[in-house]
């Protein structure tokens, strides 16, 4: 296990380097001069050269990359052009909000999806299967920003039960005055992982229960619930890895939902950075999101290795 873990962790290094190169190059690949956003268009050549030197843009690219990387490793991702505040702080604040939203949505989606998928997989071809598969299909196909708007209209505008936007009063707690802001975005965001996990678990359960060892367990007299425990152990590694990937997507990919609900997370921050052409903020946010994705994949692989002995090779 240790050798497998070490090998898997080492594999992360080249991926992380590649990600950082792409993020760094963003500034130079994006159309237009990075200085154009902060300098007036009629700035003198002298001033432009001065700013260029100030930001280190006059040096060769590899040197710029090296300096940028060293600063990034020390937690310094530069200042936001729009607000002048350190990018690291902005991202950290937003990341916490996104983690909370994505975490709750994933747990919700996984619990509901895995339950539905398990029932459907055991009762293939019956009405239970048809209904749950229909729900899963809807979950995967419905555009979630549209679903978000519908939920807002029903629960905020019509029934007035839940707030439509924002993350509530400052300071987080398990208090309802805070949690109620979380309900609608989390439910909306959970629908996609719910659908995907339900479909995955359904087909996994169908595969596993068709295998010989399940009838062999019956043949040695194991009770139904004991057989089902074997089925769960066989289904779990793949289901967990799908959940991990979904969590990864949600941590980075909730731009639409965070915008619909004005949830102050990284997706919302990314959206802001794009529209204000705030390059350091954009660069930093993408780097952090990409690294989170890499780390989550690593975590999922290690977890899978711990559950399924066949993977550690």
């Amino acid at each position: 296990m240790m050798a497998y873990a070490a090998k898997r962790i080492l594999q992360v290094v080249p991926v992380a380097v590649g990600v950082s190169v792409v993020c760094f190059m963003l500034i130079h690949l994006a159309p237009g001069d990075p200085l154009a956003a902060i300098l007036p268009s009629d700035a003198s050549a002298d001033l432009q050269a001065q700013m260029r030197a100030l930001y280190g843009l006059d040096r060769p690219l590899p040197v710029q990359y090296g300096l940028w990387l060293i600063r990034a490793l020390h937690g310094d991702l530069g200042q936001s052009i729009a607000t002048g505040r350190p990018v690291t702080g902005e991202i950290a604040g937003a990341a916490v909000n996104t983690f909370i939203l994505a975490g709750v949505a994933t747990v919700l989606g996984f619990t509901v999806g895995a339950t539905l998928g398990f029932l459907a997989g055991l009762a293939r071809g019956t009405w239970v299967d048809r209904i749950t598969s229909g729900i899963a299909m809807l979950g995967v196909s419905v555009p979630h920003y549209w679903l978000g708007l519908v939920l807002v209209i029903v629960f905020s505008v019509e029934l007035n039960w839940l707030p439509a936007t924002g993350a509530g009063p400052g300071g987080r707690s398990l208090d309802w005055s805070y949690l109620r802001f979380l309900v609608l975005p989390a439910v909306t965001l959970s629908v996609i992982p719910m659908g995907i996990i339900a479909r995955t678990v359904r087909s996994l359960v169908a595969d596993v229960t068709a295998q010989d060892f399940v009838s062999a367990l019956g043949a040695k007299g194991m009770l139904r619930r004991q057989v089902l425990r074997h089925v769960v152990r066989n289904v779990a590694p793949t289901a967990l890895s799908v959940m991990g990937l979904q969590l990864g997507y949600l941590l980075g990919g909730s731009i639409l939902i965070e915008t619909v609900f004005s949830w102050p997370g990284t997706g919302f921050l990314l959206n802001t950075a794009i529209f204000t052409r705030d390059l350091p903020l954009l660069q930093g946010t993408i780097l952090v999101l990409a690294m989170i994705f890499v780390l989550i994949n690593l975590g999922v692989d290690l977890l899978q290795g711990a559950i399924d002995p066949r993977i550690q090779r």
Binding site: Q211, D212, F213, S215, A216, L217, G218, A219, K220, G221, M222, L223, Q226, H230, R233, N234, P237, I307, D308, P309, R310
Partner: protein
């Protein structure tokens, strides 16, 4: 002596609708305690289905008729809970592919221990000690270490030994073997056959051994029942059937053995193909392939009879 296994007029039909498949039709078979009977036949002859009926392992959609008694218990009448207690304790089974019949994510030791605890209770440590003892009985080398192996870490022959250990873990009276050597190398096959035979004698087990290989049947069985298209067509002491098969299908099986082809340039085969079970002829199922066929064969199913006073054969023209 009352038989250990008493199967009477067993029928199993799969599928509903316009074309149900009668996989087993009117099988009657009895085994004395400690007797080994081989069920011999091709794929689709109903031998495995007959075997699985003893544990009621068929899907819920199968329709099963007739009666099965094992050690006095009416298997068909068991409640789900009583059936679960019966499986593995009175009757246990070993499978064709041990690699597929074991859960890949549990260690072998755990899989044996859970069967032991299911039927005999006791602590984890006691169950593990029992598993270790069984591993020694089936002669798995470095048994203690092997208990912690996962199925993918063991060879096919070792896995089948482990499977046998698991089947014997709760001291059953009957062992069902569903082609347990078919998936193994020839050298390993013979070791497993000898092991089954040895443990059968030691524990006084009644064994039904399903195989398509008449050589394997000769190695392990006291008696043999030859099945064709869901029915028993010949049954008798293994030596009698091999020396003078009465049914033309049994004769065909014996002649078709590869070992006999030695000096000849061609293998002898039974002409034609096994019938479609969903569309059986009204008379003898073997009639379309049979050289001795007469008009009677095409209209009437021949009953099992004992023309020689020993064994039974279902043929109007035996010999």
């Amino acid at each position: 002596m009352t038989p250990m296994i008493d199967i009477r007029d067993l029928s199993v039909v799969f599928g509903r609708g316009p074309k149900p498949v009668p996989a087993v039709d009117g099988v009657t078979l009895a085994l004395a305690p400690g007797e080994v009977v081989a069920l011999l036949g091709e794929s689709g002859s109903g031998k495995s289905v007959t075997l699985r009926s003893l544990l009621r392992l068929h899907p819920a959609s199968a329709r099963v008729g007739g009666t099965i008694r094992v050690d006095g218990t009416d298997v068909m009448a068991l409640s789900p809970r009583a059936l679960a207690d019966f499986r593995g304790r009175t009757v246990s089974m070993i499978f064709q592919e041990p690699r597929l019949a074991l859960d890949p994510v549990y260690t072998i030791g755990d899989q044996i221990a859970e069967a032991v605890r299911r039927h005999r209770g006791g602590t984890r440590a006691q169950a593990r000690a029992r598993a270790l003892d069984l591993f020694d009985r089936v002669r798995i080398p470095s048994a203690k270490r092997r208990l912690d192996n996962y199925p993918h870490e063991m060879s096919g022959g070792m896995l089948q030994r482990a499977m046998i250990a698991m089947a014997l873990s709760c001291d059953p009276k009957v062992l069902l073997a569903d082609e347990p050597t078919t998936a193994l190398d020839a050298t390993v096959q013979i070791q497993i056959l000898l092991l089954v035979r040895e443990l059968q004698r030691e524990y006084g087990l009644s064994v039904i051994f399903v195989t398509h290989d008449i050589g394997v049947a000769a190695e392990v069985a006291d008696r043999v029942a030859v099945m064709y298209a869901g029915r028993i067509v010949e049954e008798g002491a293994i030596a009698d059937v091999i020396r003078s098969p009465q049914h033309p299908y049994a004769r065909g099986l014996l002649d078709a053995r590869v070992e006999l082809a030695g000096g000849r340039d061609r293998l002898i085969t039974i002409p034609g193909a096994p019938p479609d079970l969903a569309d059986l002829p009204p008379g003898c199922s073997f009639a379309p392939r049979c050289a001795r066929v007469s008009g009677e064969c095409r209209t009437t199913v021949p009953p099992l009879a004992a023309p020689l006073g020993r064994g039974q054969v279902a043929c109007f023209h035996p010999g």
